[in-house]
Point group: C3
């Protein structure tokens, strides 16, 4: 049994993040909220998300799993305006989730979750921790476009750099001073695939405060909240390690 | 002889409706106004339109027929702003219609109407009559997208439903209460091709009040006005009858 | 040595004009400003531009030449907002130009200018001189679309016409009265390729006052200013002369 109501903006924020990696998702549902773990087909990035009960306008659930096709959920979101409430209700008899937006009723077949396993999330202890607004990362992403397929993140005492090196051209964004808080006892640097980093960065709502955890040739971890702090996301992205 | 002036918005509204079905149209012109009857190539839908003299800012005509390429008229509309007056004048010598928008003069070859016959409009007496704003239909159309190629309209005492059934998913919009007025003595239901219904619904200006006449496995008739009530449109759409 | 700062709008205006003809450009730089001469690959049109030192916020240069890939410069412009200052600095060691926009540093390889010769600009003395806002030309261009590949410019005492003749259809824009000032002692008329005329007309900022110099079956010369009058542009377009 599962039924809940939430703001369309909240659902949209969640769906946008997940769909940077996968098309079909399994939510693990408990009386206290929902969680999900997802890894993309190429095993380059991983999302761990925890949505508390209080992210919803109303919430009532027993332990269960629900598999959803995110493209279909995006279709439902198009029917809602920014302030609208979306109601979801499980229809056990038909294996469907019923969405209600105003006077529209959308019955959606659930995706079979029996073959979807939970990815194992590695526990990482990373040297540098950088706090900044995602807007700064989005600016860096725009600058990186067309220079290279990779982006290098580098952090040291008091600064955080995003840079791209092409064969002849390069671009870099230096963040220091008030726009960034860097906590590290050494300079660290890793390189990442630009498309993954760009997709997740663009999917995070503008103005979101985000924590970037970085090390040398190690995955980067992005930690941020959605739904007024009631949903927490960890995003892990594998580095590209240059063979010398 | 034919010359007339009208607001670009009025001409745009008329052209948008007709061009959901056909590219070239024959207007029958009298001293009192213009009429047209048009059926699409597949004979699935039909438009009957009557534009009164007073839909125009100025109007002067003898009985005649004028054949127009609607894509070219759309080109003229792009040269006008919302409030602009468009002047049309027949140039008998060259078989052209001359459009004037501000200081632009556009001379347009007429389409030969000799091979364009008037479709016969069936006289239908349909059980249910539903009055509502076209905005509600447009909402239903957005919801129906991607579920199925067909849309089912159903009316009964006090309600009007639009619904789509796919193999696994479905969507429905229920209209009742203040948003709709239903006049029927029985429940009636017919299914229609979604693309035709969608095209005409999107072409009707937002906010237009519209009358939907419906029966069981019968064509639906949409009746509405354009040009501040000075142009009347009947749109007939054939049902899709499921073979059992 | 070359370093300068200018408003992103100013750089954008300059780049938009040049890139109607070529992708790579050679700027000739002096302590007093920059100049360029460019002709398109088909030798149909030519641009001569002079940018004074005072078009820049700051400017410091010795005599030199700089070759730039305009697509890359457009990429830099996307990183700047309308009011932003863009800083350019030559990096002689690496043959690069370094752009700075806020905290973004973009290092750009220079294009080799050794094989780029200066086109010879013909000295023309044309009969008619027409002064008008580029907005009027832009309106004429919109009307001309889809009628023909050529546009005819015609000027006589007190009027300036833009017209297009297709096989069956035609369109013309007549400018007279307050919207245009025509200085000529004879009627003159030439025909031009619509795509070139359209591209340059669309690239000139709306509201720009422009001088059109015209003669019979002769190139047309467009003269206008950018950067608050601190950059001057001559644009020459070869006529299309109909063989009889």
């Amino acid at each position: 049994m599962f039924s809940a109501e939430l703001k369309s903006d909240t659902l949209k924020g969640i769906v946008n993040i997940i769909s940077t990696l996968i098309d079909e998702v399994k939510f693990t549902i408990t009386p206290e909220g929902m969680t999900l773990k997802a890894v993309d087909a190429a095993h380059v990035a991983m999302i761990e998300m925890e949505i508390e009960k209080c992210a919803f306008e109303s919430y009532s659930a027993e332990d269960c799993e629900i598999g959803l096709d995110l493209d279909k959920v995006k279709g439902v979101l198009k029917l809602a305006s920014a302030g609208d409430i979306i109601r979801m209700e499980q229809d056990d008899t038909h294996g469907r989730l019923v969405f209600k937006v105003g006077n529209i009723t959308r019955r959606m077949n659930l995706v079979d979750t029996s073959t979807m396993s939970d990815p194992k999330v590695p526990q990482l202890s990373l040297t540098a921790k950088i706090s900044l607004s995602v807007d700064e990362l989005q600016k860096g992403i725009r600058a990186a476009d067309t220079i290279s397929d990779h982006i290098t993140l580098r952090a040291g005492t008091g600064y955080f750099d995003l840079s791209c090196e092409g064969d002849t051209d390069s671009v870099s964004l230096r963040l220091e001073g008030d726009s960034v808080k860097v906590d590290t006892d050494a300079e660290v640097c890793s390189m990442f695939p630009l498309d993954y980093f760009s997709n997740i960065t663009k999917a995070i709502p503008a103005g979101t405060q985000i924590s970037v955890e970085l090390d040398n040739d190690y995955p980067v971890k992005l930690v941020f909240a959605l739904a007024d702090g009631n949903a927490r996301v960890n995003y892990l992205l594998a580095p590209r390690i240059e063979s010398e």
